[in-house]
Amino acid sequence: TQLLEQSPQFLSIQEGENLTVYCNSSSVFSSLQWYRQEPGEGPVLLVTVVTGGEVKKLKRLTFQFGDARKDSSLHITAAQPGDTGLYLCAGERDFNKFYFGSGTKLNVKP
């Protein structure tokens, strides 16, 4: 059973379009992380959100943590081919255990 559900599972868009990826759970997390992973490599941390309702911006990426600390979203503005990859959310609970979502595979076409 997956603690975190991500949607959509796959996303193929044109360069310049906007997109949002969702990460939902019925569980409360102490914090939530977003990672990006390239094929054959380990996930790379993008951001950590800790406070309910928190919004963080990283250039064209905007991350939001739900008020109840059960869900999160990642919004990308004006997507570029370099944004292509597997996006993973992870919730931290039970004293620093990290539980991952199912992943969103993003393909940005030039």
Binding site: G42, P43, T48, V50, A90, N96, K97, F98, G103
Partner: protein, 110 residues
Amino acid sequence: SQTIHQWPATLVQPVGSPLSLECTVEGTSNPNLYWYRQAAGRGLQLLFYSVGIGQISSEVPQNLSASRPQDRQFILSSKKLLLSDSGFYLCAWSLGAEAFFGQGTRLTVV
């Protein structure tokens, strides 16, 4: 700065053979250490979690075991591999609300 090393990068093993994957962390003390497994293009499943030397928590019943003989060394083992043990194995470390990953080991059991 902290670094994590994981080896080997790829491994092909016959069914029934033993397994030993090693992970070491540099530049930090007393980290939490993790082993994850990832199916192709999907999320990560937490296998083992360790808060200190000799302290291992197993998240899912399986054919694998883990050991932490030194503070910054984490080993994933099996006495007899099954076909279903094939996958991408990732080691990670954490001191708090963020986890950092190694480059992963692609294990193929034939």
